[in-house]
Subunit: 396 residues, 2 copies
């Protein structure tokens, strides 16, 4: 029997998804599982976007342009123009979710063995994409006791080697809910200029910035127009995770033309998803306001409820819809599995994502878990209640 | 300004798509372009499949399972069962087009530097995916004078080194239209067993086998159940290229579980496309019969018309809807560009894919081009007429 590849062997299972079989087993036993493990909001996709797909009048579903439909790329550029970013459709490449934007950018700009610096904990699939593409992520640890603020810029600089080609930030941050200030971004900007690095910015949670915090795009930063590469997505903005449509955005023409060669190889991004995505760009402000208000309430509820539990600490997230919480257990990998495998409270339990998978440094995050507050308030309350009851009986 | 990666620099432009800007310019000049360059059939997507998408009653377009919706995976397994292949849904991983199936399989089973043997000319994007994943394709040349028959198995064996991990076949073949016989496949099967190789088979044109030729799946071959990996796609079977839904199929549990880790990293395959793909699996036999009859007529017409042109040789394809033709020019890269840039016949011209990009051996295919007979007969006739007129005036 031929062997699996070495890279395949060391490829991690997704910490967000690896517990799914246990959740399925729990459901089969009649236990209701509250999913706080995955950023799958229950917010409706904008109805107009759904209408668009119901009204397609094509007879053949054809390939689109490899860079995406021009009409859609223009809508995306217009969206950025509204944010104050000068952008044309030629600077936008439509991808199969934000995930593909990351992979194409890695391939187009980084050689195997090249290093990128990234604050941890970070969105876990960066580990997987780095491994797939031979890229080395040098983590710089942000800490729960500082509410996961950006580490000092000197700490970044210490990690720079001749192999360093870029910095990756996720802003607003998944999994921590941090938002980087104008001042913090300016320090990164200066470092990017000093070492002529790429600055990759995952800005898919841009609309989810609370308490007067502002999501600043790296495309707004002066003097790094050729360095900045943005990963964007419809998934969270329009609650349309399943359409798998995102974008790679850069003013660097060489980056876009190289990325296009990778895009050509896979022919085109999803056609039906692009129709939904394009229609979603016309979503009215009221939709976002309602969604925003809902998330603020959910956040306030879940953080306050969590912090009432003895031994639990949940920092107040500034953006996105995640937070990393500290739990009074030794190993959240084991605890989260136990929640699904052995525990229930009145035939209900809760699914969390163990945080260890969000750290690149081995051993970190063992007593932490990520929660996504993507359920309606009644369910969030019940989910937290399950956690509270579980912690009363759990033995490490 | 930071540099593009070395791998990005050597990534080829798609020979199928690199002439697109010239075609667009021709259209802007008012010239009608007949597209024989790309396998984008004008055959309608099955109406029932389109209905399915118009009737979705979801409010949120959610992520699907990373391996695809179970209901869809079961339909795919059932489709294989009808072909006589014992298969369960656990052996099917839904991918973002056949393209992603190739990439995931390469990652899961091959290390950078590993070699795979593949008859050339081959579907050009294998070059791109191999380059992306650090895989080395060792080409074995099939020749137009033999109607691109499979090279002798001894030629394959000569290429085997300690780095050889697999053989890739595309059957029915894109771009040559070859179909491999039971006898040829048996020889490959024996070689695969002798050296314990993977056998990757791209079988996306399975339904397009003419003149009594039979498409045999590698999943039907005895004794290589753990070696065989199939790449499949809805694109051609259901004329639904734009939905970007395909599948990676293997009875090797380790391959599927490793592939799933790569699938988890990108979260899920396109959700709307899966709805179309699943509904398409219920397409009735009559649809295929009509499509089949149409392609037979198109093939017969285009091959006979092409062979009437002095200096042109078009072998009769046994399957798929492509053929590689020989042209009386020195460099089809230049000729195909000239067709779009400088030529028109009664305000019409034709777009072909230069064949050099389908060969891995440098210098081969310079006087060949791939044509896809995916247009209706009147248009095919006009397209060939354009080619004929062009050859009368073209100067190398």
């Amino acid at each position: 029997m031929p062997k699996i590849s070495e890279r395949g062997n060391i490829m991690p299972e997704s910490p967000i998804r690896k517990l799914v079989p246990y959740a399925e087993a729990a459901k089969k036993r009649g236990v209701k599982v509250y999913h706080l493990n995955i950023g799958q909001p229950d917010i409706p996709t904008p109805p107009k976007a759904l209408e668009a797909i119901k009204n397609i009048d094509t007879k053949v579903i054809e390939y689109s342009h490899s860079a995406g439909n021009e009409s859609y790329r223009k809508k995306i550029a217009t969206y950025y123009n509204r944010l104050g970013v000068a952008l044309t459709f030629n600077e936008v490449l439509v991808t199969t979710g934000g995930s593909e934007a990351i992979q194409i950018a890695f391939n187009a700009t980084l050689n195997p063995g090249d290093e990128v610096i990234m604050p941890e904990p970070f969105y876990t699939n960066y580990n997987s994409f780095a491994l797939t593409n031979g890229v080395i992520i040098k983590p710089i640890t942000s800490k729960i006791e500082n509410d996961f603020a950006l580490p000092a810029i000197e700490e970044f600089e210490k990690l720079i080697t001749p192999k360093t080609k870029g910095i990756i930030i996720v802003n607003p941050n998944n999994p921590t809910g941090s938002i980087y200030s104008a001042d913090e971004l300016d320090k990164i900007r200066q470092l990017v200029i000093k070492y002529d690095l790429y600055l990759y910015a995952d800005e898919v949670y841009r609309e989810f910035a609370y308490d007067g915090n502002k999501s600043i795009s790296v495309l707004e930063l002066e003097g790094i127009e050729e360095n900045a590469i943005v990963f964007d997505s419809t998934s969270k903005r329009y609650s349309a995770c399943g359409i798998r449509v995102g974008a790679l955005i850069s003013k660097n023409k060489e980056v876009i033309s190289t990325a296009l060669k990778y895009a050509q190889a896979r022919l085109s991004p999803p056609g039906l998803g692009q129709i939904v995505g394009e229609a979603a760009e016309d979503t009215d402000v009221q939709y976002f306001k309602e969604v925003y208000d809902e998330y603020i309430e959910r956040r306030n509820l879940v953080i306050s409820e969590l912090n009432k539990i003895e031994g639990v600490y949940a920092p107040m997230p500034k953006g996105a819809f995640y937070t990393i919480i500290q739990l009074p257990v030794k190993d959240t990998d084991r605890f989260c599995q136990w929640l699904l495998e052995e525990f229930d409270y009145e035939k209900q339990t809760v699914m969390l994502a163990p945080a260890s998978g969000f750290y690149s440094t081995p051993g970190l995050g063992k007593n932490e878990a990520r929660i996504a507050y993507v359920l309606k308030k009644e369910d969030l309350k019940k989910a937290v209640k399950c956690l509270e009851e579980a912690l009363k009986v759990y033995k490490d």
